[in-house]
Amino acid sequence: MAGQMTAPAVQTRRAGTAGQLAGPRIKPTKMAANLVLLVIALLFVLPMAWVVVASFDAQATLSFGVPDALTTDNFAAIMTPELTWLPLWNAFVLSFGAGAITVVVAVLAAYPLSRYRMRFGKYFLYSVLFGTCLPITAIMVPVYSLFVQLNLLDSLPGTIFFMAATSLPMAIWMTKNFMDSVPISLEEAAWTEGASAMQALRQVVLPLMRPGIAVVFIFVFVQAWGNFFVPFVLLLSPEKQPAAVSIFAFFGQYGSVAYGQLAAYSLLYAAPVLGLYVLVTRISGSAFALAGAVKG
């Protein structure tokens, strides 16, 4: 029975690999696969669809529902400097700062790791790999006490450096992998002309790995932009807090009534991240780039 069933399946696959279009009749198993996927997609999209629909709904509730009237009042209500623009600006400063520091430090660290055979290089990479695994939420309470001791609590630069440090292990790992794919022969040419290692890095290697650096920067930026727990613990003054924290405070104060505004705020805050993700998929040519990088 199974043997009879399988013969046409093999043919379909061969036809597929030969680049031909699928036939007009789709096999029932394929139909089932498509159907199951659509059901899963529907279940996955429902919670997110609420955010989008509620933000344009004048009488938004907690449930997804077709609005009686579309409005942009929710957006107009939240677009004030202290509620939206300052927290978004703070989020940008935090994320850009963390991204820039991480990229510079990771490129510097990746260069010797990628180019020289060092005795302790392997151990350093193991520690870095260990760092990528460390659950950051686990260390937030000790980080708080450490920041009290260092007098860094409620300091924007302190928080930026902490966020840079926590994304550094992953960034070094990714940058080293990108750098490994730049052939060393190009630098050897630069060295014979008398360039130092740092000159070779700046003038030969970096221009060749621009897309890789962009991916690492966006990766760190997106993580910092979406991070709630770290600024929630380390930044105390409302005027320093990024959008993730101020949106939570808004939820605590008005969340139980102003669902539409909460949804509008969420949408506004999530939009840059979604845009950057699309950008990464364009740069790296793969929709699953971030997870691929994580896999190492």
């Binding site: 093999v10 789709i26 997110m48 060092m118 790999l129």
Partner: protein
């Protein structure tokens, strides 16, 4: 001499990374072990000059009925939402995506990845609204004549587990999609010609070939789920009571709500040790690739 100075010059670019990692990653870990032996508080003199109290925090921890409960909730949360939920959903989706037509494939993968790309606080609000007693889920259930319970109150663990599956499945789906793409089609075709059905091909051909990806992914999703805080904190706040207080929530509440920073640090130390054990297993599994 020349060799050593050249060797030293080569190491210099590593210095900023070493300083940052030592100060902000190694520092807190060391501080955590030290702080868990002190009576550090949130404010007042005990915040700046904590006193050494030995093992008091740990004896209090193991005598506290909330701790074993929280440990158990963490195990349940990690096992059901990461090890079972995200992994099974991930491999299922990766498999289905391969046999789907292109528009369905792009719709499904975009939607699943979107839940993962969203900032965690937005994802948490969305999940809160979905499982709320007046939320989307109960509206749908009412549509077919079922009066849904107040999920966040009566079954908080179920709600946060399902929410975490929704939030995190994309990662496993992407890892398994990449892994399945590398399974040589000749292998499955040969099994097919030998009369193996779909399930047999999965069990005896596909899974053995991608087992490395499976172990890597299990470890990474476990570690990520171990540190989930925002999703649970926004959805249930660890409640009702402590019925959904996993270790990160418990540590946060002890340290910042009840101002027992030393006690919270002891919980953090337990989490670091659990995380470290998983990390070592993970790195050992990866070792041949690193060398």
């Amino acid at each position: 001499m020349a060799v050593t100075s050249r060797g030293a010059a080569r190491v210099v670019p590593l210095a900023p990374a070493v300083v940052l990692l030592a100060l902000f990653m190694l520092g807190p870990v060391v501080w955590s072990f030290y702080g868990s032996f002190t009576n550090a508080a949130l404010t007042g003199p005990a915040a700046l000059n904590p006193e050494w109290i030995g093992l008091d925090n740990y004896t209090a921890l193991f005598g506290d009925p909330d701790f074993p409960k929280s440990l158990w909730l963490t195990v349940v949360f990690v096992f059901l939402s990461a090890v079972v939920g995200q992994n099974v959903m991930g491999i299922l989706l990766a498999g289905l995506l391969r046999s789907a037509v292109k528009p369905v494939r792009s719709i499904a993968s975009t939607v699943v990845v979107a839940a993962w790309v969203l900032p965690e606080i937005v994802a948490a609000f969305a999940a809160y609204a979905f499982f709320h007693s007046e939320g989307t889920l109960n509206t749908m259930l009412a549509g077919v004549g079922i009066a849904g319970p107040d999920w966040l109150y009566s079954t908080p663990m179920l709600a946060v587990i399902l929410a975490n599956i929704w939030r995190g499945t994309a990662f496993s789906m992407m890892v398994y999609s990449a892994a399945l793409a590398e399974v040589p089609p000749e292998l499955t075709e040969a099994a097919q010609l030998d009369g193996a059905n779909g399930f047999q091909r999965l069990a005896w051909v596909t899974i053995p070939v991608i087992r490395r990806s499976i172990s890597t992914n299990l470890m990474l999703t476990t570690l990520q789920t171990l540190s989930v805080f925002t999703l649970i904190y926004v959805m249930t706040g660890g409640g009702p009571g402590t019925d959904s207080s996993t270790l990160p929530i418990l540590a946060y509440q002890e340290a910042f709500k009840f101002a027992q920073v030393g006690y919270g640090t002891a919980i953090a130390t337990v989490m670091i040790i659990v995380g470290a054990v998983f990390s070592v297993i993970y790195i050992r599994a990866l070792r041949p690739e690193v060398d």
